[in-house]
């Protein structure tokens, strides 16, 4: 099975730290790489794509070292965060050129380029110069160049930035589809809901260090000691609040703007939910809706970097 093993990898640029002692394993499917700007996401992607050499540690893809390994490079697709396009070329010419650089013959490169443009919905703009493309179109052509050679390992650095909602949804679907083919896809972003749309599995970077890894839920469990906010909609708001204040897990309790809204800050969510179940079943208190408002990546990220 294809797997990426990152073994205590560090990268310094003279005195500037890129990433520090990253140790993890990436398996097939889509994995999100989360972090604020300057967290080390792009550095890690460049290390994984063999563009830069680790200062310490090793990176292996399916058992083979990445650095200076052309057989691995041939299986890698990389979509950089920067523009990286030639404005004087048309979209078709650009993709042909990239396909040729990937080692395809001229005829095959043309077919591949046509298919790549079709895949990202740019067929009509194929013969338009890239310089005249909109930001979203440039993003799409950049993505197309990364998947032209049908890579086994796809690394996308901020692929959705600057895209309109329709293009964004289409690209998210393309990325998910790639992941469904049991290929390794690593997508970096600093916008958390973007990653959540594509995958539930994330690596969180901060200041060059791996802060957390796993599914969103697993990471959430790691920070269970942090209080969690629950929004409850109930017609029995007063009765429920009277009971909830007696629970040791409940730290704060407040009424929301809606007349049936109750906001509770809790610790030990499992204990809290068990008690709440009993309350509903034994005392017949009606609950219309129960939402963990901070059970999303944004909140988790905030907790982790605190």
């Amino acid at each position: 099975m294809a797997v990426i093993e990152i073994d205590n990898v560090s990268k310094w640029y003279d005195e500037v730290l890129g990433v520090s002692e990253i140790h993890t394993r990436i398996e097939p499917g889509v994995t999100g790489l989360l972090g604020a700007n300057g967290a080390g996401k792009s550095t890690l992607l460049k290390l994984l794509t063999g563009q830069i050499k680790p200062s310490a540690g090793t990176i292996r893809i399916s058992g083979e070292p990445v650095w200076n390994n052309n057989s691995i490079y041939a299986k890698i697709g990389f979509c950089p965060d920067t523009e990286s396009l030639y404005d004087y070329m048309t979209g078709f010419q650009f993709l042909c050129y990239i396909a040729r650089l990937n080692g395809q013959s001229k005829q095959n490169a043309q077919k591949t380029a046509e298919r790549g443009l079709e895949r990202v919905g740019l067929t009509e703009a194929a013969n338009k110069r890239i310089g005249a493309y909109s930001k979203g179109m440039r993003q799409r052509v950049k993505y197309a160049q990364s998947i032209l050679h049908d890579p086994e390992y796809l690394f996308l650095d901020e692929p959705l930035s600057g895209m309109d909602p329709i293009g964004r949804n289409a690209l998210v679907e393309l990325i998910r589809e790639f992941g469904r083919q049991e290929k390794i896809v690593l997508v970096s972003s600093h916008i958390l809901h973007e990653v959540q749309e594509m995958t539930n599995r994330v690596l969180v970077l901060n200041n060059g260090m791996l802060l957390a890894e796993g599914t969103v839920q697993e990471i959430r469990e790691l920070i269970d000691e942090q209080p969690r906010h629950i929004q409850i909609l109930t017609p029995d708001r007063q009765t429920l609040s009277n009971r909830l204040v007696t629970y040791p897990e409940v730290q704060t309790l407040s009424f929301g703007e809606e007349e049936n809204e109750l906001i509770v800050q809790i610790t030990s969510p499992d204990d809290f939910y068990n008690r709440l179940d009993s309350l509903v079943l034994d005392e017949g208190i009606k609950i219309q809706q129960l939402v963990a408002t901070d059970d999303n990546l944004e909140s988790i990220f905030e907790y982790l970097v605190k």
Partner: protein, 302 residues
């Protein structure tokens, strides 16, 4: 058609050997420069000595015919003088190449100033470095573009002149009997072009600006001869600062010395030619070091 309705299809064609990747970069670069109208004007301008020399070779080949025309005593004397003047030998080709040297910088400037800086400007280096190719492939491809156009005003026209000589005189064995001359021409062209290509690549990698890069190339061409000229005037009485030593600091002098050694086995300057060769190697080494530092996937902002 919405893109999400399409599925992935595997590429089923064959892959080319990796060893020719550099040639794709070279071809793209050559093609792009070829499309420029201004470049064509410059190229034709640089090839005017070549066109002149074709006429010279034609005249030399047809002098006897001119003499036989019987155009009077004066005309015959002129034809004899012309025959002495027009001698097609190693010196003829060397002189042609020597003239072409002054155009080399112009061609290197036009073809090379933006060759890496444009990739840096477009942040396209990362596209190359994430592909199954090495940094050397990339630089070899880029360098080949400049080299091709430098050859097109030095090596290729010189060899063509030899071809025309054989053609006009109907002496095809001339090409085979002149193998050592061909070798000298090839060697000299490379001594001239390779350090220049390396220097221009290095300068182009230092900046994202085409103008900045072009300015630096002009400075590298114009400043050393000016400085050497000033130094020569200032140190005229100093025995340690002779012309030979100063000849190490300009391309023109380095090429002159190497040309004399290659074509005549003698030296123009009184410093041994190995110093000049060493200087050219040093230029290549420093340029290679700059390229090694500059061609990478990251820019460090401290």
């Amino acid at each position: 058609m919405p893109v999400y309705e399409q599925s992935y299809r595997h590429y089923s064609g064959t892959y080319l050997p990796r060893s020719i990747v550099w040639s794709l970069i070279a071809r793209r670069g050559i093609h792009r420069i070829w499309q420029g109208r201004i470049f064509w004007i410059i190229l034709i301008f640089c090839l005017t000595p070549f066109l002149y020399n074709i006429c010279v070779i034609y005249l030399e080949a047809n002098l006897e015919f001119l003499e036989n025309l019987g155009g009077g005593r004066d005309f015959n004397e002129f034809a004899r003088w012309l025959k002495n003047y027009l001698t097609i030998d190693a010196e003829f080709y060397y002189n042609f190449l020597y003239i072409q040297l002054s155009f080399c910088y112009l061609i290197a400037l036009v073809t090379g100033a933006d060759i890496i800086s444009s990739d840096k400007r477009c942040k396209a280096l990362t596209l190359y470095l994430a592909k199954p190719m090495s940094k050397v492939d990339y630089l070899f491809g880029k360098g080949s573009v400049i080299l091709f156009y430098l050859y097109s005003i030095t090596l290729f026209p010189t060899l063509l002149l030899m071809f025309f000589y054989a053609f006009f005189n109907d002496q095809w064995n001339y090409l085979f009997t002149s193998l050592s001359l061909i070798l000298k021409i090839f060697l000299y062209c490379n001594v001239v072009t390779i350090p220049l290509v390396m220097l221009v690549l290095a300068i182009s990698s230092l900046t994202k600006s085409r103008v900045g890069s072009a300015t630096m190339i002009c400075v590298a061409y114009l400043i050393p001869p000016a400085m050497v000229g000033i130094l020569q005037e200032m140190t005229r009485q100093q025995p340690f600062m002779n012309e030979g030593l100063l000849s190490l600091f300009t391309f023109q002098h380095l090429w002159t010395q190497m040309g004399s050694v290659i074509f005549y086995s003698e030296m123009t300057y009184d410093l041994h030619w190995s110093w000049h060769l060493g200087m050219l190697i040093l230029i290549c080494a420093v340029s290679a070091f700059i390229l090694h530092r500059q061609i990478r996937a990251v820019e460090v902002v401290k």
